[in-house]
């Protein structure tokens, strides 16, 4: 395999190791005495160094080596974990990251590492010598095996067979070490003469170097020939010594049994070494991301992939367009499956039913695989934020703690790829404009350390990502003044606007409320870009805030899951599908248990007041069903808010293909799409988020 084929594996793994280092460094900062963390960082750094060196990226290998030394000092308790030390290590990691990025984009990964190396070395002080000794030790260890008296020659399987067979036939095998005189002019000729002499005596089965190399004089002065012969050791010795310009001849009889054992031992050793290496590798990988050891099948398969990646390169890259085509074809299959299921249940033929059931199971598995191929946990995006928050808060002299909730929430890959940058903007915004300086916070009676919460969760057909801070909140007056100043709105507009709408002005272009423009944010372009990016993904951004208490930025993103689990319900003889992800539970309540509150029908459900939404009214159904004494409810939620959808009956749970209503029918209230049912009819999919205020 050529190097370029390894390159992708190298880049992928380097990124993983860097992420692991970053995560663990952050952990270490919180628990400076936890040497287990240091060991883990050390392991990642070590692997990185090894990979870098193997691939020939010297700067990377050198820098990681230096970093490793520092980590070693920490591990041995010779260096304390101080913010200064951490800063330097973080800088080094940054440099390594840059290199990997460079390599990934086709560069050679070289980078000026003098400055950072100097810093790392200054941390190490005198201990840099240790590393040198270490290298020297390994260097001296290597050649020891060569010093024995025996003539060095190893045989392969085939040669050993030949040797043992000829032994059975009474031949003797000799290893002959011939050393030519230093002054020999025509080495090739001498070799030829030796070979000829030996061939008169017996059969040459092997020579080291090979006969070809010997003829081309590609050797120093000595070579080893293995000969099968009936003649005695001394006879052979004499024959060779007759040739001129031969300095010495050394002959040893080959002990076939010994050779075999030698070979076995060697193989064993190699095997063990390989195994150790592998064990070490997998161990490092396994421990690297304990948080990712969740049991979703996709992650399992990806960790398998990692273990074998280096040797077998079991991953391939597939264009996302091809996955889309696959998905479309599969959607057709799911519709036909539904139809088949219906037909088979009508025909009531046992064999047909069995086959259809089997097919349903297989397509079910297939569906999971296809969907999983496209889904990734938001962790992919989130995991770079802790690092960012750390360096930003140091830069801004603020104390900020980032809490990440729901990092395992999965999103379609195309969306994952896009949301990173706008989220960076929003988090920066929270740190820069939201969280106050420690002094201000103390003066306000808040804890010194501000908290930024990054939250991801599924709700209905959407994934919500929220960024909440307990900072200063948004000053409505300031926004209004600024908006008027910039001519974004008029006085009249402002009067009619709700608080939320006013907050949304933040996202208008050319808007910045920070009193001083900082490096971090505040150029007034950020939030505008944020909104456009999310909107291009079909997302919606909203802001809520309480002055002095903090603010909440909420982003609603579509799942773009084209196959979803739904509960089919009947409302006034029409069928509707409610995404299972939005459903908390179903219930039946008696009419007498329904109360009126502010012109809104509510029920008391598990101690909570739950408003009722009558789907037949919302969808102004033309046909009314006869009144019953009870309501069938589907309790749905949006974040923490819940509502009870009143339906006529529950039909059951189905896997359906989400289809769009086309370009002529956009923005239909509370309908997010449609699907084709088993009987070929179309059912509408309810967008429960629009039904919950």
């Amino acid at each position: 395999m050529s190097q370029s084929e390894y390159l992708e594996v190298f880049i992928d793994e380097s990124e993983e190791h860097l992420q692991a280092i970053n995560d663990n460094l952050l952990k270490l900062e919180n628990e400076p005495d936890n040497m287990d963390i240091v060991s883990e960082i050390f392991r990642s750094a070590h692997t990185l160094k090894g990979m870098g060196a193997t691939m020939g990226f010297e700067d990377l290998a050198n820098l990681t080596h230096n970093m490793e030394n520092v980590l070693d000092l920490i591990r041995n308790g010779e260096l304390e974990v101080t913010p200064e030390v951490m800063d330097i290590i973080f800088d080094a990691v940054d440099d390594i990251e840059e290199m990997v990025t460079d390599i990934a984009s086709g560069g050679d990964g070289s980078r000026d590492i003098q400055e950072i190396t100097k810093q790392l070395e200054s941390l190490q002080g005198i201990e840099t010598e240790d590393a040198g000794e270490e290298v020297a030790a390994t260097a001296t260890a290597a050649p020891t095996t060569e010093t024995s008296d025996e003539i060095e020659e190893t045989f392969d399987e085939y040669e050993l067979t030949v040797l043992s067979q000829s032994e059975e036939q009474g031949y003797k095998a000799f290893k002959i070490l011939v050393t030519l005189d230093e002054k020999t002019m025509l080495k090739g000729v001498r070799v030829f003469m030796v070979f000829e002499t030996l061939e008169e005596a017996g059969e040459i089965i092997k020579s080291t170097p090979s006969a070809e190399d010997l003829e081309n004089e590609k050797f120093e002065l000595s070579f080893v020939v293995t000969l099968l012969t009936h003649e005695s050791k001394t006879d052979i010795q004499k024959r060779i010594e007759k040739i001129s310009e031969i300095a010495s001849v050394k002959i040893e009889e080959v002990n076939v049994k010994q050779e075999k054992q030698k070979k076995l031992a060697l193989e064993e050793k190699e095997h063990q070494e390989a195994q150790q290496k592998e064990e070490k590798g997998t161990k490092g990988k396994k421990e690297k991301k304990p948080s990712q050891q969740s049991s979703s099948p996709k992650e399992k398969s990806s960790s398998n992939k990692k273990q074998k990646g280096m040797e077998l390169n079991k991953t391939i890259r597939v264009n996302i367009d091809r996955l889309d085509v696959l998905m479309n074809l599969f959607e057709e299959l799911v519709i036909d499956r539904g139809r088949l299921e219906q037909i088979s249940s009508e025909l009531n033929n046992n064999e047909l039913q069995e086959t259809v059931e089997r097919m349903s199971r297989i397509t079910g598995d297939l569906q999971e695989i296809i969907l999983n191929m496209r889904m990734m946990p938001v962790e992919q995006v989130f995991n770079r934020f802790p690092r960012m928050v750390r360096s930003l808060s140091r830069e801004l002299n603020k104390k900020v703690k980032l809490e990440i909730i729901g990092a395992d929430t999965e999103l379609d890959r195309t969306i994952i790829d896009e949301i990173g940058d706008p989220l960076v903007h929003l988090i920066r915004n929270s740190l820069d404009h939201g969280i106050e300086t420690p002094d201000e916070r103390v003066a306000k009676g808040k804890p010194e350390e501000g908290i930024v919460k990054l939250r991801a969760f599924h709700s209905g057909n959407h994934v919500f990502i929220e960024i909440e801070d307990d900072g200063a909140g948004i000053d409505k007056e300031k926004i209004m003044n600024k908006a008027l100043e910039n001519g974004v709105v008029t006085d009249e507009d402002l009067e009619k606007m709700t608080d939320q709408q006013i907050y949304s002005l933040l996202f208008a272009s050319g808007f910045s409320t920070a009193e001083k423009v900082t490096d971090v944010s505040g150029r007034g372009v950020g939030l505008d870009v944020v909104r456009t990016t999310f909107e291009s993904l079909g997302g919606v951004v909203t802001v809520d805030s309480e002055l002095g208490k903090g603010s909440l930025f909420s982003i609603q993103l579509p799942l773009t899951l084209s196959i979803i689990d739904v509960m089919l319900v009947e409302v006034a003889q029409e069928k509707y599908a409610i995404p299972l992800t939005a459903i908390v539970e179903t219930a039946i309540v008696e009419k007498k248990d329904v109360y009126n509150a502010h012109n809104q029908k509510v029920i008391d459900f598990r101690g909570k007041v739950v408003p009722l939404v009558f789907l037949d009214e919302i969808f102004d159904a033309p046909l009314k069903n006869e009144e019953q004494d009870f309501y069938s409810l589907v309790i749905v939620h949006k974040g923490e808010k819940v509502a009870g959808l009143v339906v006529d009956s529950l039909i059951g749970q189905h896997d359906i293909v989400l289809k769009s209503l086309g370009n002529y029918l956009t923005n239909v209230f509370a309908i997010s799409g449609a699907t084709i049912l088993g009987d070929g009819q179309v059912a509408l999919i309810v967008d429960t988020n629009e039904l919950i205020k």
């Binding site: 057709e332 029409e574 919302i618 102004d620 086309g662 370009n663 002529y664 029918l665």
Partner: protein, 148 residues
């Protein structure tokens, strides 16, 4: 349109109330018998809903309702003309599909003020062939607005 009008047009002639109308055959992908339509809440009343056309969900417009003609119950002859305009498919419910004929662009005459109560803006002209008279529809004007 100048190029198109010089050439001969192939049109589908269909029935709506007691008049005949025509639409260019290029727009028509298929003619379907009446089938189950799923109502969509909260849309203009002339959009009857959506139907499943071989795995694709397409909106269906009742052309009588679109032209503010009285609506009648669908019957044996009722057809859905499936049209494709720039990749978006839409179905038109008509009283019946009668014919496919070739017309010459010279046969198209300007629309009289009012034809059978259908607003002038929806029409491209009137075609007279022998004793048959039918109205060529202006598809762009009839289609619901496409939103981005």
């Amino acid at each position: 349109m100048t190029v198109a009008e010089k050439k001969d047009l192939k049109v589908i002639v269909f029935q709506l109330k007691d008049e005949e109308y025509a639409i260019e055959v290029d727009y028509v992908t298929s003619i379907e018998k009446m089938q189950k339509i799923t109502r969509i809440p909260g849309v203009p009343s002339y959009i009857k809903g959506v139907m499943n056309l071989r795995g694709v969900i397409i909106p269906v417009v009742d052309l009588r309702s679109r032209f503010q003609l009285e609506e009648i119950d669908y019957e044996e002859n009722t057809r859905i003309l499936v049209l494709n305009k720039d990749g978006d498919e839409i179905g038109f419910i008509v009283d019946g599909a009668n014919d496919v004929i070739d017309i010459s662009s010279t046969d198209i005459e300007p629309t009289p003020e009012v034809v059978g109560g259908v607003k002038e803006e929806y029409l491209r002209g009137v075609v007279k062939m022998g004793d048959r008279l039918f109205t060529l529809l202006h598809l762009e004007k009839i289609l619901p607005k496409v939103k981005d």
